[in-house]
Symmetry: C2
Subunit: 238 residues, 2 copies
């Protein structure tokens, strides 16, 4: 394939921003390229994603990626935005990595990004613990507040997605509850809001706000065995 043809027909990929909340920390699921090549050679963490397969629609590709990495059978899958800047492949590290992976020359890549939201529980795959960290896992959850440099423009995609999620949550509050535990404290909900918005939220104001929302129901249950004052649990009513 000559250079002109490559430029004319960019590769098309689908990349998925899978956000999860474990009750304390907002995390994004990242995948790591195999470690055959020393990692200094490229930014080896990235969003789960791949080139579009033949005869596959964009939504199908996203669903396939998200179900295969999360194990969820019916995940929330929402197209977010297409990224097509020619500078996406300006970093030779990223190009080297992908060319190694797909054994093909890379010109440009237009990627369609998708958003998925889930709660992180004890049964969620790829939770980081001492063992998996040591064993260099191919996928793991990372706190969005402290991300390393990722491949391509994936830091930008995550940042844009969080901004859009913050905007959407103002209009469709149920979005954030996709990530909340079935019962939760006001402090947990506040921490999620803080991490989505990137802003500190006043504790008292937030507690008042929570109590005024018709879709947040107080339960007759309180935290157990905590050193601080036991907090009340709430649940979301769609």
């Amino acid at each position: 394939m000559d250079k002109d043809a490559l430029n004319f027909d960019p590769h098309v990929s689908v990349d998925c921003v899978i956000l999860g909340f474990d009750g304390d920390s907002l995390q994004v699921l990242l995948s790591r390229r195999g470690n055959e090549v020393p990692e200094e050679q490229y930014n080896n963490l990235k969003l789960p994603g791949r080139l579009l397969h033949t005869d596959e629609d964009l939504d199908e590709a996203a669903l396939d990626i998200i179900t295969s990495v999360t194990g969820k059978r019916h995940p929330l899958v929402k197209q977010f935005r297409a990224y097509g800047s020619p500078s996406r492949t300006s970093n030779p590290k990223d190009v080297l990595w992908l060319e190694n992976a797909i054994k093909q020359k890379i010109g440009r890549i237009v990627t369609i990004s998708y958003l998925s939201l889930m709660r992180i529980t004890n049964r969620t795959p790829h939770r980081k613990d001492a063992e998996t960290q040591a064993s260099y896992p191919d996928k793991a959850w990372y706190p969005v507040q402290d991300l390393p440099q990722l491949a391509f423009d994936h830091n930008l995609i995550i940042q844009d997605t969080l901004q859009e999620l913050y905007r959407m949550a103002g209009q469709q509050p149920q979005m954030l509850f996709e990530m909340m535990p079935a019962k939760f404290t006001a402090a947990q909900l506040r921490r999620l809001h803080e991490q989505v918005s990137g802003k500190k939220i006043d504790v008292r104001n937030f507690a008042k706000l929570v109590m005024n929302k018709p879709y947040i129901l107080p339960l007759n249950e309180w935290e157990q065995n905590v050193s601080h004052r036991a907090a009340r649990f709430y649940r979301f009513k769609p």
Copy 2:
């Protein structure tokens, strides 16, 4: 280029849904392929758009398309959605047309759609009148309520865009005023709402609604030289 390579790297295009309102009718700007080939051979009306150029970002392509067809220097340009179903090129008429145009075999096309909104005035290019209709114009405004079969999935893209615009207008009322005349009657605003939503709106309820919105200001001006009772003019206050 062999078939596999074509399948692996779909073409990438940008298509623009440019909506305009002339005070009475909500219209979309469509372009028509040259008439060298009899039009029975393909659906020859389509959204303004083209394949992505080398070294061009998606937003740049959209801005270029929209400015060139509307003549507006600073149009509203908003990425809407990517469409990538393999069935987009299932109609041989569409494929024949594009292959004729770009002198290249077509496999799949992933298109990124954009939305632009404008008011249609007497100075707006491509307004349909007796003269241009006769002369088979290469671009013209068409009422969204009465569109013919367009190329590819362009009818679907317009339908999805109107739905999304309706949703957005609920949250960001200023969107619709991009299309309204600087001063307008309640009936004009109602007609636009009806055509965006595809639903009939009750005249009295709508009039009350208009009067209760802080961003819609009544003017001390009324219609002149009308056979019905002269309606009051309003303006939008951002």
